[in-house]
Symmetry: C2
Subunit: 268 residues, 2 copies
Amino acid sequence: MPHAFLLHLTSSDPRPPRYPGLYAHGLFFALLGKLDPGLAAAVHAAPRKPFTLAVLEPSPPPRRGGGGSGEVVLRVTTLDDGLFGPLLEVLLREGADSLTLGDQPYRLARVVATPQGSPFAGHRSWQELAAAPPIRCLRLRFCTPTVFATSKPGRRARHTPLPDPFLIAKSLLSSWQHHSPLRFPETEAAALLTVFELDLELTRFADLRFEWAQAAKGFFPGFTGAVEVYCHNNSLDVQRALGILQAYAFYAGVGAKTAYGLGLTMPS
Amino acid sequence: MPHAFLLHLTSSDPRPPRYPGLYAHGLFFALLGKLDPGLAAAVHAAPRKPFTLAVLEPSPPPRRGGGGSGEVVLRVTTLDDGLFGPLLEVLLREGADSLTLGDQPYRLARVVATPQGSPFAGHRSWQELAAAPPIRCLRLRFCTPTVFATSKPGRRARHTPLPDPFLIAKSLLSSWQHHSPLRFPETEAAALLTVFELDLELTRFADLRFEWAQAAKGFFPGFTGAVEVYCHNNSLDVQRALGILQAYAFYAGVGAKTAYGLGLTMPS
């Protein structure tokens, strides 16, 4: 069952962490290692990470020039059914004492795991996601910088910081196929991908902004903003798949480096 | 020699024209027809129009709710060497009397044809364009809604209202190949297209806005805003081509329906 939850961390040091995404990633693996080094190694080695991490703006946001509030809000989502329970267990055990972001100690002040606590938190079973109502229009808001790795032959590392409808749908479908026990049969997934290439069209965007974002060891060009993608295909199966992918986006995020803070996505 | 010039039209009727792009297109062909019906028919039949048209916001802009000023500024560019002279001749001959936009009569108040008169006006010989300095970064501002026709097999009309670097470069190259007497040899153009596909990357955008735009008989999704596209290729020939295309964008515009007001583009 995919989970999304927020960790409110507080520090006596008001300076905000310098590389929040990178540090959060480090913290995640440090915690997992304390719990089960074998699990941590397996997750670390996985080419597709079964979790996402993002650092949210604390509300109210820190005053300009006045330094930070000493509060950091981490959003964590888990896409692997075996990850949520153990992770929460070790968080609650270790968190009261000390968690480290970079070289600053933090204390876990609060865990928010339900939509009542925050619109960024919640959980849905794979069955519930698979039963999402069919849609004709995919509506998403990209809340942290989002980018697609669109590398080219000859070891060319290339990035696409634009809400390309096909790249959005492909990213979600491929994550669903990888993580969901209710994935589509191979032939159906291939057919969906073809339809996405032919029949999706961007029919609106708003608040589209460009931002260089730090993730892992590099900087990436990214976009934030809201989009509406229309599906010209009349097949109910396709519209059902789009409904699933829109609901799943809340947990999986979109694009590259979702385990480092990029691509946090909300159905809208 | 490509020309860009502005026609300041005034009317005693302060209402702004309802479909300015469409009406401007009609006016253009009406004028051409008065001059030379054969030329008008040939231009009308051309699959790629050797001109662009756009309606600019008059400055100062009309007061909100106060109706229009009765002034319309048309920007015309010509990409065919045989078009500018005759067009200006008939404009000056007919314009003092009456030009029709939709069903409203207008009078030609002023022609602005030099950059001293407006940053949207000017002319460059094909030789001057072909000698544009090489660049590594393509910087363009899309001033009117811009969209790419990205139709798909099976008669699927699809549009891409995003500043995709490859689509931008392809649009400019294909227009240059069609209209310029100094076009690249076929094999070089094909090689350039491959490089554009592999080595262009969007490294910044700003003020990106979505807008539905009326052009010809339909509505099209479009974007306006500024972009910066970086070329990872070290070939001087490629950078020379990019320099040419950036300079040429001022006259050719980018994307679909440039003869109806879309895709007005400024090097920036």
